[in-house]
Every structure is written in C-alpha cells, then in structure tokens.
C-alpha cells in the first residue's frame, strides 16, 4: 500500500462520508439521532461492527467462494452484531432500552455490507482495517453531529418536531447541504491551487 493509496483510504470516511455523501444507513441515522447520546452510542456500535467485519471478511476473502460470498458476509456481520447486542444488553441495559432495536438492524445496514462488498472482499487486511476505521469514524462523526444539532434545536424550540422523524429528515437535509457546500468549496480551492501550480511549472 503506497502513500497515495493510504491517504485515499484513510480519508474515505470524509471524502465519501457514508451519511452525507453516499447517503447510506439512513434508517438508524434518522431514527436514533434524536439526541447526542443515542447517536454516539449507535455510531460506536456500527463502527465496531464495520471495523471487525472488514477485517474478518478481508482475512477470509480467498476462502469464501464467489457464489456464497453474500450469505457468508451476512453471517459474519450478524454474529458481530449479536455480540454487540449481548454486550449492550448485559452491561448497558438503559442504553439497550433506547437503541436496542436498532442494534439488531446494524446487520442490514448498507454501510457495512457496502464496505464488505466494495472494499474488504477485494483488499488485504491492513487497507480493510484502515477503511473500516475511516468509514466508522465518518459515520460516528456524521450521526453525532446530527444528534447534537437535533438536540440543540429541541432544547431551543421544544420537543415534538426536531426530535421526531420529520424533523430528523429536515435537519439531515440541511446538515448534508452545509457539509457538501463546504466540501465543494474546499475542493474548488484545491483545484484552483493545482491549476496555478501547473501554470507556474509550465
């Protein structure tokens, strides 16, 4: 893995943010970003499954025949989700009461299956680990930011809208727009800088 590849993989969580850019995992993102604690907790659970599923799938990529790769991935992901569920229900019962149903749903989260299919199933262990960490952190950051904004708006305007699903949709749209606008402007600046350098060199 060269430096350029490492940089590309490590920044994957930002450049291809699963929530704001790829628009994946919308169900738990909207349903459980009603407050910062739920959002951060679900983000951590998802990131754990994402990192370990990426590593395990990458380790087994040559052993898993192509015809059964999807069910094999699902078995691995579901086992990791069950482990997380067992941990949360045993040690954090209050958290289990608030996000328990959505922990089970991590199994069918598009981000995890998407990374397994697109990356971990085709790459070595180290790049897959980096990809898992990057995407996991990207998801945690996105869902926590959304949770923080929604909680703040709920404190300001009172409960009943921003802590509900429709409020979640609107806030997600606004945060997504701001994120993409900032990101586009940064990319544009970088492009202009590159063009200037190229002109100077020419």
């Amino acid at each position: 893995m060269n430096k350029e590849e490492f940089k590309k993989t490590a920044l994957g969580g930002l450049i291809n943010n699963p929530v704001f850019v790829l628009v994946l995992g919308m169900c738990p993102t909207i349903a459980k970003s009603d407050n910062i604690i739920n959002a951060l907790s679900l983000g951590l659970c998802t990131a754990f499954v994402l990192i370990f599923s990426n590593v395990i799938i990458s380790l087994l990529r040559k052993a898993i025949p192509d015809k059964v790769h999807l069910p094999a991935y699902i078995v691995i992901i579901a086992s990791l989700v069950t482990l997380v569920q067992m941990f949360v229900s045993s040690f954090l019962p209050d958290l289990n009461d608030s996000i328990g149903a959505f922990i089970s749903l991590i199994t069918v989260n598009c981000i995890i299956l998407g990374r397994a299919e697109a990356f971990a199933g085709k790459n070595k262990v180290l790049p897959s680990l980096i990809d898992g960490v990057s995407m996991g952190l990207g998801f945690i950051a996105a869902i926590t930011l959304l949770g923080a904004v929604r909680q703040l708006l709920t404190i300001i305007f009172g409960s009943g809208f921003f802590d509900k699903t429709m409020g979640g949709f609107i806030v997600l749209g606004l945060v997504m727009a701001v994120f993409n606008a900032i990101f586009a402007s940064v990319k544009e600046k970088q492009r202009k800088k590159t063009v200037l350098i190229e002109r100077e060199v020419a």
Binding site: L60, A63, I64, P65, K67, V68, P71, A72, V75, I76, A78, S79, T82, L83, M86, F87, S90, F91, N96, D97, S98, G100, A101
Partner: protein, 217 residues
C-alpha cells in the same frame, strides 16, 4: 465428481464452517456475559406495595420480610426451563415474589417481560385467590407508551388466572399496538404460570385459609 458439483459442495462446506465458527464463538462469549439476576430492591417493593398493599410502608415491607423473592425450589420448576418450554408465548417469567404477611398475605406477584416497540416491557402482575388483584409496569422505554389507555392495568383487576387476556380487543386501536401487545403477552404468560404453579407458590401449609395468613403462635 464434476466441477460444478465440487464447487457447489465447496461453497456449502465453507458456509457451514463459517456459520459453525460464528455460533461457537458466540456461545463461548455468552458464557462470560452476566445473566439477569432478579433482586427485590426498594423500587420493586414500592411497586408491589402499590398494586398489592401490605398495609405497611415500603421500607418496612422490604426490610421486615412482608415481601419475599421466591426461588426455583419454591414453585418447583426452573424458570429457565419454563421459559424455554413456552417460547411461543414470546414472553418470559423473570421472577416471582410472595407476600408472606400483611393485608394481602398469600398473594404473589409475577414479574414477566415481553418485547415491545423499543425494547423489553417488564410487567408485575399480582394474584390472590387465583384472581389478578393488581398490575403495573416495572420497566419500559416505549416511545408511544403515553398513548396506551390509562386504565389498562386497572382493567385487569378481577380477571381470573384461567382467562385469556386480550387487551387489543378490549381497547381497540391505541396508537401503541406493539407496547399493548407486549403488556398483553407478559400478563398472559404470568397467568399461565400462576395457573400451573399457584398451589406451590402459595403453599397451603403456610395459610390456614387459602389467601389468609395463619395467625402466628
């Protein structure tokens, strides 16, 4: 053996091995996670005292043994086995408490849980003379709990252990169907347990008249 058959067998074998390893790993992990151990704490004693009054304060009811937590030996069945045998009920018995003395001596309270919309709903149902004398929720984290009828638990009072509770039929559409179903399942499994183990829990030897405490000598 032809190539396609070999490939199909290989794919099946790999899938079976992965599944077996995952199941084994989870079973191993499960041994190290703590299991739910029911305890008779102040909060539970307070709830029991509300639905089935002992006639004394919550603190005294707890400290002076008015309410006691029973073990598997007291009702002659292992709760784990009972729950395993009644998996179709989609609810579990967690604990059984008994009032040994006080205004409702001879009554017993069953703690049962069932899955609602956002997690487990834990319900306490109190029985005396094979009738429900009170019920309440011990734990819930349901989003639409406030949509449930306020008299839901009161409506259970007087129901017999032999009756099949159907809260949906009683209250119709509530806006919290999953929560209502969870309560319904928890009460029904409590009813089944009470029906089967009523006599062993109450222990007729302890009470001269069924449901009335024997005078201390």
């Amino acid at each position: 053996m032809s190539r396609p058959v070999f490939n199909a067998l290989k794919a099946t074998a790999v899938l079976v091995i992965i599944t077996a390893v995952c199941v084994g790993a989870l079973a191993l992990c499960n041994m190290f996670f703590p299991k739910y151990v029911p305890t008779l704490d102040g909060a539970t004693a307070k709830l029991i005292n509300e639905i089935c009054p002992t006639g004394v304060s919550d603190d005294i009811a707890l400290s002076d043994g008015y309410i006691e937590l029973l073990g598997d030996d007291d009702y002659g069945v292992k709760l784990a086995d009972y729950n395993k045998a009644n998996k179709s009920a989609k609810a579990e018995i967690l604990a059984v408490y008994r009032q040994s003395k006080g205004d409702n001596a001879g009554a017993f309270i069953i703690e049962a849980k069932s899955s609602g919309r956002d997690g487990d709903v834990v319900v306490l149902t109190a029985y005396k003379n094979e009738n429900i004398v009170g019920a309440t929720v011990k734990k819930q984290g349901e989003s639409y709990w406030n949509k449930l009828p306020t008299d839901m638990f009161e409506s259970l009072v007087g129901e017999n252990v032999y009756s099949e509770i159907n809260l949906s039929a009683k209250f119709g559409k509530t806006g919290a169907t999953l929560s209502l179903t969870a309560v319904n399942r928890a009460v029904n499994i409590s009813n089944s347990f009470a029906k089967e183990h009523n006599r062993s829990i109450v222990k007729p030897d302890d009470f001269t008249v069924y449901g009335h405490a024997k005078e201390s000598e």
